[in-house]
Amino acid sequence: VDSYVLENPFRLVFDVHRTSSVVTAPPRPLAPRPEGWFGIRTIVVDPGHGGKATGAIGPSGVQEKDLTLELARELKSRLEHRLPVRVVLTRDNDIEVDHDVRTAIANQNQADLFISIHLNSSLGEGAHGAETYFLSTEASDARAAQAAATENLGTDSAVPEDTAAQDLQLILWDLAQTHHLAESQRLANLIQGELNETLQLKDRGVKQAPFRVLMGATMPAVLVEVGFVSNPEEEKKLQDSSYRLALVEALTRAVGRYKAVAENREQPPGDRAPVASPAAPGAGVGGPASPP
């Protein structure tokens, strides 16, 4: 049984599993963090949809939920093989997981990155290629307003000291969210660049949207649409395991580059390594060497 605490409204969620936990792999033992250093150590990978929620369905009947699970499993394996990170999947079988539980899993595991994997579809013809999303500013602001409302509900507003403390807390929370949005955009740019570069896909760009699964994540969070399952040609490619491996390889390289850049930024100035090099310490992966 897993349990999660969700807010607004306050909820306790108990996730009862018949076999293994949603969090599929036992946590990989990691060396203790140096004080004041916040590297990328835990990554939550979220295979979109699942169970009754099939997601998009291709012309030949391919279901998004199946391919996102394949991609997520492969990405977990590759990331853990290439980088000193622990990867947690929000689901490892064909089950329906609430959107808020997905981000709760990331928060519970104190994840440093949240990557939700999806396949796209469109009405009409001609849409193909990859696109990467991070949370829209309006949605982030709305979330902040909700958090503020929740905070105010939970305290006695007649006490000015409490109000001031709440305001300070909200300002800090808002600053953290702004930082996460900027980092989310940085990660999204790297992922989109790798997908375009590696697979020569049409660049549909980095975008923002009020996607539910990105709300409430207290870390940089992106949603990657790796291709259009509604496009017959792309549907065929996505069914090919070697094509999916190439997609996973691109995502792994992007995460490696993000990790190298982020960790280098947080080192004391004297200890910083050159970030343009794909062989930067801790990256462990190759790839094009343009900074984000």
Partner: protein, 191 residues
């Protein structure tokens, strides 16, 4: 004129005016705009406007249409949504849903938030879709409503009376959505 005769004339005048008012109110003029609803503000006039339908490339494209609209905002919203659900008339544009989806109740809050209840007896939830298809459907409705009904600012979509957590697996539906210009194709409006 005696006082009695004057009283009779006044009474007769009242009866004549009353009868004329009753006849006029029960026989509205046959020429001019047709009345769609009830009440003085329900008189419809033909209005030219843009409806935004899904188009190729994962975008929305405007179709120029003429709809009979009244000044009543809820009637205007209903007319816009019904026209969207009826589907596009031009080439290269696509319907929002399979057949069988209709519009139920419409509510308009003082802050300009519109609540549109979409009804479909055969589908428990909106059809599964990728995020682009979902955004095409949602912003077809949101953009068309807000940009054509000045009293509106944002839209909440319900399905069979329920406000879902997401519309079709991605877009947050727990908060109202404002229009999104980024999905609208830059090409010319279809007539």
């Amino acid at each position: 004129m005696s006082r009695r005769a004057a009283g009779l004339v006044i009474a007769l005048a009242v009866v004549v005016v009353g009868a004329a008012w009753w006849w006029w109110s029960s026989h509205p003029p046959t020429e001019g705009p047709a009345a769609v609803g009830t009440g003085p503000q329900a008189r419809a006039t033909k209005v030219e406007l843009n409806l935004y339908f899904p188009a190729d490339g994962g975008l929305l494209r405007a179709e120029r249409r003429v709809l009979p609209l009244t000044d009543a905002p809820k009637q205007r919203i209903r007319a816009v949504v019904e026209a969207l659900l009826a589907g596009p008339q031009g080439e290269g544009l696509y319907p929002l849903f399979p057949e069988g989806v209709s519009v139920g109740s419409i509510q308009l809050a003082d802050d300009g938030t519109v609540y549109v209840d979409l009804r479909c007896p055969t589908l428990e939830a909106p059809p599964p879709a990728g995020s682009t298809a979902e955004m095409q459907v949602v912003y077809s409705l949101v953009n068309s409503i807000v940009w054509n009904v000045s009293q509106t600012r944002q839209v909440v979509l319900l399905w069979n009376g329920i406000q879902p957590q997401t519309f079709a697996g991605h877009l947050d539906s727990s908060s109202p959505l404002a229009p999104d210009r980024s999905l609208v194709a830059a090409a010319a409006v279809q007539r």
